[in-house]
Every structure is written in structure tokens, then in C-alpha cells.
């Protein structure tokens, strides 16, 4: 390679043999990360050529500048030499190079500290994932059990948490959720009405839109939509709050102070959702029916009075109470899932994000599963 009369000389690498068993590696020019440098493979290939050298020395008199680029090349070469038991003599290189390499090798690698890379096949990974899903259900039920025991302590007045915490959480998941619950329930009512309107009109049965919206909202949609809103809003918040507390050791601080984190943190959250979500469900049902009435009034020219009268005739008390009961169960699912994921949070800030995500996903999955079970159950029981 010709040396160029430029501002910086490019990195040069060449080889020579001092005698039959010594390879001289000549480095010259500018060995900087940014300017690009030769690969250690060139040296490895040179080592493979017969006669195989037993010693490697360097010639660096024309070395202009160097940084980590040269160091990584040398460490790669040193690794190869160590494996092949070839002696490496770096004395001809600048003193700083040798010292830095010695520094990198000072603390020996801790055996067993390096994490094993997972080389499982697709089937293995699929199998492990399935088993972990089952494990997740097990964790959820165990945690639910622990929360229930804490409720038992609450019943005898021995649970420890602050009333002010409970009040703040009630305000947050109840009063502050009004806006979004109003909007979404109204729109769900409108959508349900739209879906039914066109078809029912064909049969001249437009008035039954009140039945459709009323029964759908009250039996299922009001509860499910409210619960899903709370999962995204409150479940994620619980997971993020408790996850952050885990990262900063605030939960450990509670434990070592002799205060149960379950009683102090989880109980107020579960109680708050348990109290607020039925109220929000009733509210969502009303707003949904109202949304349907708007569609009925504008699209189908059914008066509000007629609509509400038909709605009152259609829905029964068992529908309303059943819907509220289901929604309460969903609410407990959201609170338990959110708190569980928070406690399981890992030790980094990205883990808090993961905790919030899995809280929402777990909540929604279990809500929908519960909805299905209830549908079957209520049908069998004739409710």
C-alpha cells in the first residue's frame, strides 16, 4: 500500500517474517475507529500460512495516531494467539497501548457470570411459552388468594393502609374517569344503534332499536367497555406506580419496616376499583342508552319519550344487576392484574413500561374470558 500525502494517512497493515517462527506485524498510519481499519482476520490468515509462527512481534515506528480501533484489533489478535498458544510481544508498540491492554485484562472474567445465549428451537420456544402462560394463571390466582386473605384482615380491622391513599385513588379512578367513560359509552350506544337501525328499518321494527341498545348496554357492553377503559387507564397506572416503587426499593423499605406491601399498597387500590366501577357501570349504561336515543331521534325519527318507554319495557332488573355484578368482577380483575404486574416488575425503567403493558394485556384477556364464562353461566341459569 502506498503512503499518501494527505492530512491523515490511512491505516496500514503488513506482515513480514523475522525468522521461521516469528511473524512481524507492521502497523502504520492512522488507526482510528472513524477512519476504518483492517480486520484482525487478515492477521489470523497470515498466522495460518506455513511455516506456523510461534511468536508475534510488532513494528510500529510509523504509527501516527491510534485509539480504540487499534486496541480492538490487538485484543482480537491476542485472543487468537492465546488460543493457539502463540507468544505475543507488544513491546515495540507505544507504551500507552500495552498499558491499556493490561488494564482491560486486569480483572479476570468471573466464571459463570456470562449469560448463556438461548439457542432453543421453535418447538422448544413454543413449548416454554405455553408453560409460562399456565404459570401466569397460577401466579394470578395465588396473588388473588393473598389479596383475599388481606381482605380478611381488613374485615377484622387489622389491615394497615392510609385512608388518604384510598381517597386519592378513589378520586383518580372514579371521578377522573368520568370524561372518558362518558365519551366511550355514548359512542358505543351510538354504534350499537347504527348497527341495528338499518336492518330493523327493513322489517318496520325500528322501535326495537331501544331494546337492542338497552339490553346490549345493560347486560354486557356497558360493563365490558368500562372495564377495558379502566384496564388501560387504571390498571396500567397501578402497574407503573408499583413497578417504579419496586425499582427504587420503596417496596423493600415497606417490607423491612414490618408493613406488608400487600396491605399498604394493593388493598386500597382493589377497594377503590371495587367501589367505583359499579357506579361507573351504571353511568355508562345510562349514557349508552342516551347515545342510542340520539340515533333513534335523528335517523329513525323516534321520539325520546317513545324510545325511553320501550327501553324501560325491555330491560329487566336481573339484566341490570347481572351487568353490574359482572362489571365488579372485571374491576377486581383489573386491580389485581395491575398490582401483580407492578410487583413483578424488573429492575429497570424499561421494565416499568413492560409491567404496564402486561397489566393491560392480562386484564383484557381475563376480562374477555370472564365475560365468556358469565355468558355461558347466565344462559344456563336462565338469568
Amino acid at each position: 500500500m502506498q503512503a499518501q500525502e494527505n492530512h491523515t494517512k490511512p491505516a496500514e497493515l503488513s506482515f513480514a517474517r523475522a525468522d521461521n517462527s516469528t511473524l512481524v506485524v507492521r502497523v502504520a498510519g492512522d488507526w482510528h475507529l472513524r477512519s476504518g481499519m483492517p480486520s484482525p482476520l487478515l492477521a489470523t490468515r497470515e498466522l495460518d500460512k506455513p511455516p506456523k509462527p510461534k511468536k508475534v512481534t510488532f513494528e510500529g515506528s510509523h504509527l501516527e495516531g491510534w485509539d480504540t480501533g487499534l486496541l480492538t484489533f490487538l485484543m482480537g489478535l491476542a485472543d487468537v494467539c492465546q488460543k493457539r498458544k502463540i507468544e505475543l510481544d507488544m513491546s515495540a508498540l507505544p507504551a500507552g497501548v500495552g498499558q491499556l491492554i493490561k488494564l482491560a485484562e486486569t480483572v479476570p472474567e468471573k466464571t459463570g457470570a456470562r449469560l448463556e445465549r438461548d439457542h432453543s428451537s421453535f418447538i422448544e420456544t413454543l413449548g416454554k411459552a405455553t408453560i409460562s402462560y399456565a404459570g401466569a394463571l397460577d401466579e394470578f390466582l395465588t396473588f388473588l388468594g393473598q389479596v383475599t386473605i388481606s381482605f380478611g384482615k381488613l374485615a377484622v380491622g387489622r389491615a394497615r393502609f392510609r385512608m388518604v391513599d384510598l381517597m386519592v385513588i378513589i378520586q383518580d379512578c372514579g371521578a377522573n374517569a368520568f370524561g372518558i367513560v362518558t365519551l366511550i359509552s355514548f359512542l358505543v350506544g351510538v354504534i350499537l344503534a347504527f348497527m341495528g337501525a338499518v336492518q330493523l328499518q327493513k322489517f318496520g321494527a325500528a322501535i326495537f332499536i331501544a331494546d337492542l341498545v338497552g339490553i346490549a348496554m345493560v347486560r354486557d357492553m356497558g360493563g365490558v367497555m368500562t372495564a377495558i377503559i379502566m384496564a388501560g387507564r387504571t390498571g396500567a397506572a397501578f402497574a407503573a406506580q408499583l413497578g417504579s416503587m419496586k425499582v427504587t426499593q420503596e417496596i423493600d423499605a415497606l417490607t423491612t419496616m414490618g408493613i406488608s406491601p400487600l396491605e399498604f399498597l394493593v388493598l386500597p387500590r382493589v377497594i377503590a376499583l371495587f367501589l367505583m366501577i359499579p357506579l361507573l357501570c351504571i353511568y355508562a349504561d345510562c349514557v349508552g342508552i342516551l347515545g342510542g336515543s340520539f340515533v333513534a331521534a335523528t335517523m329513525l325519527h323516534i321520539s325520546f319519550t317513545a324510545y325511553f318507554r320501550e327501553t324501560m319495557n325491555a330491560i329487566m332488573l336481573t339484566d341490570v344487576l347481572g351487568g353490574i355484578f359482572k362489571c365488579t368482577v372485571y374491576g377486581i380483575i383489573v386491580a389485581v392484574a395491575g398490582c401483580l404486574r407492578g410487583f413483578q416488575c424488573g429492575n429497570s425503567s424499561s421494565a416499568v413500561g413492560d409491567a404496564a403493558t402486561t397489566a393491560v394485556v392480562t386484564s383484557i384477556v381475563y376480562i374477555v374470558v370472564a365475560c365468556g364464562i358469565f355468558a355461558f353461566l347466565f344462559n344456563t341459569l336462565g338469568i
Binding site: A95, Q99, K102, L103, K110, G112, A113, R160, R162, D165, S244, M245, T248, Q249, E250, D252, A253, L254, T255, T256, M257, G258, I259, S260
Partner: protein, 272 residues
Amino acid sequence: MSTPSQPTASESSKQKAAITVNNLTMAFGNFVVMKDLNFKVNEHDIFIIMGGSGCGKSTLLRHMLGLIEPAKGEVLYGDFNFTKADLEEREAKLRQFGVLYQSGALWSSMTLAENVGLPLGEFTDLKPSEIREVASLKLALVGLKGFEDYYPSQISGGMQKRAGLARAIALDPEIVFFDEPSAGLDPISSRLLDDLILELRDNLGATAVVVSHELPSIFAIGNNSVFLDAETRTMTASGDPKELLAHSTDHRVKTFLTRGEEDGKNSARDHG
């Protein structure tokens, strides 16, 4: 294992052991962090747990507090077997301890006064006004008078540590655990914290267990210690740090205590 300053058999039977660790092995799955740890912390000791970074000092502290279960061995407080006790007995015992975590671990949704006041409110029958007075006193003891209504996010790291200490001593605990108290503090603040720890021992009669690798603090306040060696993964020395410095024959212990001056190999800095 060099133990030049272990008291003689007759002396140690007179001193009551506040904490006894028997054959403790700490492991994460198959990875053994430390094994065969045997030591006693005497009453009114300032006991230093020292060793290189990553050798398991904080993990040992978490084992002693019951946050992690040991793979083998046990921890006793006086005659009370902490490892074999159930959750309620442990919770009751933990209320006699105070813990200062590395970054303070103050509850971020509460003010400093509320942080210090929480254990008081939960475990004593004091009225709210009395709780506030005691909290103010504890905060004043650590030099944070006037900051009662600040939130942890509004004060500096050093102040958070001191507030954490105020909370740790809220119930006048018998044993106070410190997880790297000097980490992140400037030399003067570190010195002030050392003085506080000495005050705790002298005037409040507490026993202190300190995880640290700050040599000035270790020599200033420690009167008993255990050295955890990362390479052999067990304890290799115990006793008064100053005695270890003078009489230890273990190479790694001496290197640690002299900040590498005793190391046979020359350091890079010695060149040129």
C-alpha cells in the same frame, strides 16, 4: 482466614451476639454468590460488611433482612431464629430494625414528615400532632430541620439519604442497617453521616451493620467487620478493620484495605 482480633472464648461469651449468621450460603439458582458465611455481630458494634464491588455485600444485607431466602444456613437475632420464623413473627422483629437504603428509598408520594411519621403512626399510639413533633425531631437530628413538607423529588440525593436515615431511626431501633451510606456523597457529607452513625451507637445505644467500601469511613467508624472475597466466594477475614490493616496476612484483604498500594504488581501509573 485471618482473625487476629477475635475476642477470646471467655470474652465472647460475655458479649451478647446481637446477630449470628450460621453457615449462610447465598445463591441465585445455580450461581453461588457467597458460601459458608459465619460471623457474629455484637451489641453496640459498628459492623462493616466489606468486599469488592459485586461480591454480594448488599445481597448479604438483604438475606439478613429476610428479603431473600438463603440457599443454606440461617440468621439469628439474639436467640430468635429469623430464617425459620413465619411471616408475622418476622414482621414483628423487623419493626425493631431500621434500614437505610442506598438511594434513601423514600416513598415518593409522601412528604419527608409523612415518611418519617408513617412507622410512628402505624406502630405507636401517638396522636398526629405528637407524630409530627417526633418526625420534626428526627429530621432535625439528621440536619434537615425545616424540610418537613418537602417531597423527596424536591431535595438533593444527599438530603434524601439523610431523610432516609431519619425514617430508619424513627422508632429508635436496636439495629440499624446501612446499604452503602457514603455512595454518591461528597467527603464532607460522608463524614457527617459517619458522625451520625457514631452518635446512634453512643447516644441511642444502637448496633449498626454497614455495607461499605469507603475506606475512610470503614476505618473511622468500624470496630468489627467481615471481608467477602469475590474470587473464593466466601469470607476471608473478620475483626476490627484497623487490626486487619495492621496484622492481616491475606493478600487480597491487605490490597483492599490499602487501596492497592500493597499490590505486588506495579500499577500502570507507576510507569514513566
